[in-house]
Symmetry: D2
Subunit: 280 residues, 4 copies
């Protein structure tokens, strides 16, 4: 495959802007398309996507590259960028994207940077810290000295427990997985099974993508906890029921893109570079 000298960044949020800019600092030519509404200056004369696709050595799509399978995610643009534009290009130049399974086509030149080993873990850290930033902002209390519940035992839950403990919270981890509970206990976390998770907390962080906090569980909560749902669809907190019950509940989607877009952009860049080094 030919040497890569230029990238086209098509769509995405601030993460993709930081990703592209950092590539520029590394010496690549990077062109942006789909960011008209972005307040940042991207030296962007109106682009014609198809020209960009033809003229660049490689293309970078956002994470996720598309939500509906038809159009590239472009939160900073109202002009639709059809996914189909890439179908042909992907035949002869590399296309880097996140969550490629959402694309309606595949090919040997389509590389999913979200599958690079370590990528999910790096983003879990950003999500965990973003959840803490969110909780700090949403409450008039401190994390320090508060009673926090973290559900789940995946990467986000593990990192979140460690950070909350590091801030001086009393952390209870409710997890189905017995081994995960043992290892969390080893690190001084009060780990219990889901059925023993208790109902009195200052802040609840859900990471389990299944309806754990339904109306019944929400109704049994004492005090007035802040409930943050970090899980992806089908989510784990019944937000409507929570609001009906007068509880503060927040669905926290795409935290890395909101609370740490620069770091998240660098992680995308490094994953792309990793693929370039390994695959090309």
């Amino acid at each position: 495959m030919n040497k890569i000298n230029s990238f086209a960044v098509l769509g995405g949020d601030k993460r993709l802007i930081y990703c592209g800019r950092s590539m520029q600092e590394d010496g690549y030519s990077v062109f942006f398309c789909g960011f008209e509404k972005c307040e940042e200056e991207l030296s962007a004369e109106p682009c014609k996507p198809i020209e960009l696709i033809n003229n660049c050595d490689a293309i970078i799509l956002p994470l996720p590259c598309t939500r509906d399978g038809a159009f590239i995610s472009t939160p900073f643009s109202d002009k639709p960028l059809p996914v189909s534009l890439l179908a042909e290009a992907a035949g002869f130049k590399p296309v880097f994207c996140g969550m490629s399974e959402k694309l309606p086509f595949s090919g040997k030149n389509i590389f999913d940077y979200s599958r690079v080993e370590g990528f999910a873990a790096e983003n879990a850290i950003l999500t965990a810290e973003g959840a803490i930033e969110l909780a700090m902002r949403e409450t008039d209390n401190t994390i320090n000295g508060s009673d926090c519940l973290v559900t789940g035992s995946g990467r986000i839950a593990r990192v979140l427990c460690s950070m909350l403990k590091g801030l001086g919270a009393r952390v209870t981890a409710a997890a189905r997985n017995a081994e995960a509970r043992v290892l969390l206990k080893a690190e001084g976390i009060n780990a219990v099974s889901i059925s023993d998770m208790g109902n009195r907390y200052d802040i609840i962080f859900n990471t389990v993508p299944s309806m754990l906090f339904d109306r019944k569980i929400l109704k049994a909560l004492e005090g007035s906890p802040l409930i943050t749902d970090l899980a992806s669809a089908p989510y784990g907190v019944d937000i409507n029921a929570a609001q009906a019950l007068g509880l503060r509940a927040v669905r926290a989607l795409s935290l890395p893109g909101k609370t740490a877009p620069k770091k998240a952009g660098i992680i995308i860049k490094n994953a792309v570079y990793h693929i370039l080094g390994e695959e090309l």
Copy 2:
């Protein structure tokens, strides 16, 4: 002294509102004065301060009670509340206030809740966590994995180092005190003397109230750190020089009242109760 059944809260920020409300939940009658601009409902019909002072069993003033020695601090009111109103009352009923040395008079009924043992440490925790919330909000990166510098070796610095490390930052503590450095090192913090503090950090937290980060030091900083000055007057960062150099520098005053007013209010309440138990 007579039993206390009612408090008048005269002036102050959200901390004092939370303090008074929590006292209400404890069964006390609490009346607020000096909060007209506060969006919260304080069931407050227009109060006449002098009547309130006369009718209540005890009076609570804010922290600090006054900045100019003439008027009580009332950020939520434009009506001046002269300190002199209290001069007489303090002769026959308890007045609880913060930083009583700023009052133009003293007396055996004036109790400074900010001097209760542990009060300063409790607020140092709030300041440390508030500084972290501020840093998270001001950057597009994470604390996790970043290089942080904390200057000083007092309570705030100590708690801040512990929290930053708990979030996964690489922490350097620059302190004059050799013993403090040894104890910080024991806890895994890279502790150095001020003269060895280096110049390449992502986030700098100053807690030393003397001009440590003058123009010369600021100019030598590499990268583009966020600089937060947590020190009280005469402060430790030359904010003007920083801005002239294009550095992001923030003076973070009264963090507890901004980032954790509820917890800060409870701390004031507990200190008042402590005095009530000890002294009265």
Copy 3:
């Protein structure tokens, strides 16, 4: 299956003694066989294994139950206890053992307590802390402030990194697994790939059961580190080469049975109880 009222403990080290004793405290009748050389008083009149097997409701074998497939492990006895004694009994009463794959027979009444979820993790904690106890004893220095290397990314490595960091060591984790490295970094551990692991440490803990520290790697080590090999066969440190090079190298086998036999015995007991609750 009938209710269990009595257990026979056949062979094993101090863990099995603590296991049986704790069962006695819980109200079970427990009989020991194969502990003649143990200094502890086990109220043990000379036992006839076959009578014990016949008279008890259930049988507990050690961890591992056998090393050679022919005889039960009996470090506290010189009288051979043939594994074959159990072959018949296992047909009609439960036999609890560790590492049942080493038995020359199997059956639906043979329960392997070492496979209970969480058992391996519980023992990993004991191994990690045992390794620290060993390192403290073997050196005239402190863990605090020392440079430690931990190889591997399994349970033992993870817990060991956390504990060493908690003691104030500078910890480098060398792991093949990129995701594990990311998560270790998130917790403030300096995680690197095996090829980048460096050669200057005070204490090295190997958990990888493949010959990582061969003569060449050992020869390149600077300073005079203590090297502890926590891996099971085929081990990860060439002990002979280390000694020839004048390095202090220790193979640390069965640490839980040596440094925390009481806790290890309780873990076996709980695993047996778990099986009793689930399976019987």
Copy 4:
């Protein structure tokens, strides 16, 4: 004062051996006296103390330099080394010693290395880690997961709390000082006043040098805790009463000299060098 090229090390335990050896590695001539019973080879032909004192540029005495005010502490020798030998020498060459207040004379050439800023804190770390090594050795359980009580709020208590928590223990700190309690709580330690310290622990570490654990308190303890007394005279645990009650109680004296003599020796050396740099 003249340049120092040679030191005489008179008496002391393994710390002083390591101190002297490390000075040799730094290029100094070092002569040892009072170590005949030490198994280590000190290339020591029988020394005449007075000749050594006369021929060396400076003298190093142990920590403490004397226990009775008459003889230098020489645990590795049966030949008495009278303190008086130094009285004259101290008039014309520097004498470095620990706890100089125990000497029956003083002088401007007598330097107490134990008073160097940071020295006490460095040794507190060694004591804390030594206490953990001791507790690990004395129990058949793990520190991880155990309930530990630490009394006091000085350096040793603070470091010990941090280390025990780092190992995964549940730590209660019982301290008189309210500010210390607040700061310990901020770091996730359950800090209580002495009167609330409870009576059910696996391991108790006393650092308070006054009779806290008298017969009455000891009798009220539940379970069978290991009790370690880290306090210096007049100590804090009634060892006789403990033994009469069947409790395991250990007086842990001079832990740094026992569990980490090498590190302790380097700390002495560095303190001597510090004085040489500052004072001479």
